[in-house]
């Protein structure tokens, strides 16, 4: 049993448990932290697969940004801790049944589509050099340059829409609006009426 297989088994089992904890935990904070933990574990597994750059990105981007965001939101919204566990129990058997049925189906599906099951997953793909990041960087900036730009755009979109959705003007603050001040309209212009009598 070589070292890779052992690490794979440890981490994958841990990963599955954390994932189950994520969805079953009553307290959203707890589930957020479990999610963070599962990201760490999957980063390790990705390292195993030879995708170093992506695993580090996973940790940086996901754990750093997204999960922090989640925690922010969780903290901000005073979510009452789950009070409806009863209903939860009622649906559990159905959930498990679906879970198992689904697994069997997909695994059965995988098995007979890949002819040599024992193809080694762990492999290092060379394009210009042995380091994964260099290869990825090369590919990103030559072949997929347009998609890269679009990705940037999507992130911009993410930012702007988040702000637009949640921004509320504070009614109390007074600020000057120069354009309104200098614009004049016909109806409130002063009119001088000459007196005809003299």
């Amino acid at each position: 049993m070589n070292i890779e297989l052992i690490t794979f088994f440890i981490f994958s089992t841990l990963l599955i448990f954390t994932c189950i904890k994520v969805i079953t935990s009553s307290n959203p904070v707890l589930s957020a932290i479990n999610l963070v933990f599962s990201f760490f574990l999957s980063a390790v597994l990705w390292l195993l697969l030879g995708a170093e750059f992506l695993s580090i990105i996973l940790i940086l981007v996901y754990v750093g940004a997204v999960m922090v965001l989640f925690l922010f939101v969780v903290m901000m919204l005073d979510i009452n801790i789950a009070k409806k566990t009863a209903a939860y129990i009622k649906y559990l058997p159905l959930g498990i049944a679906v879970f198992i049925a689904f697994n069997i189906l997909i695994i059965y599906f995988f098995i007979n589509t890949f002819e040599n099951i024992d193809y080694n997953a762990v492999k290092n793909i060379e394009i210009i050099s042995d380091s994964n990041t260099q290869n990825l960087g090369y590919l990103l900036f030559t072949k997929y340059i347009i998609e890269f730009e679009i990705a940037g755009l999507i992130l911009l979109l993410g930012i702007i829409s988040a702000i637009v959705l949640t921004y509320r003007k504070n009614p109390k603050n007074k600020y000057q609006n120069p354009t309104k001040q200098i614009s004049a309209s016909k109806k409130d212009r002063l009119k001088i009426i000459t007196d005809l009598k003299e």
Binding site: N2, L5, S12, L15, I16, C19, I23, P28, L35, S38, L45, W46, L48, L49, G50, A51, F53, L54, L58, V61, Y62, V66, L69, F70, F72, V73, V74, L77, I79, A82, K84, Y88, L92, G95, V98, F99, F102, N103, I106, F110, I111, F114, I117, D118, Y119, A121, K123, I125, I127, L136, Y144, A151, I154, L155, G158, S161, A162, I163, L165, T166
Partner: protein, 101 residues
């Protein structure tokens, strides 16, 4: 040497866990979003393993893009959640049923 099927089985398990998460959760939408994240994670798993199987880096490039998209998506998701919370004072799944036919 880890056969490819192990990874694929792992990603299906995570995928079904996240589906169960969406399906089972009676609590709030946050869990829903998190299980969404899990789903993306399992998809990335698949992408990388099959990328390796085919000996082609596009899988990983694609994962890279998936990550960016998911980040933006979860940002917007959370913003919506906040707006929803502001108007509904609760994000419990059972309360949100305006779309009732």
């Amino acid at each position: 040497m880890i056969p490819i099927s192990y990874y694929l089985i792992l990603s299906t398990i995570i995928f079904t866990i996240s589906i169960a998460g969406i399906f089972l959760n009676r609590k709030n939408i946050l869990v829903l979003l998190m299980s969404l994240e899990l789903m993306f994670l399992s998809v990335n798993f698949n992408l990388i393993t099959l990328g390796n199987y085919l000996g082609d880096l596009t899988g990983q490039v694609f994962v890279f893009f998936v990550l960016t998209v998911v980040a933006a998506e979860s940002a917007i998701g959370l913003a919506l959640l906040i707006v929803l919370f502001r108007s509904k004072k609760s994000i419990d799944v059972d309360d949100l049923s305006e779309l009732k036919g």
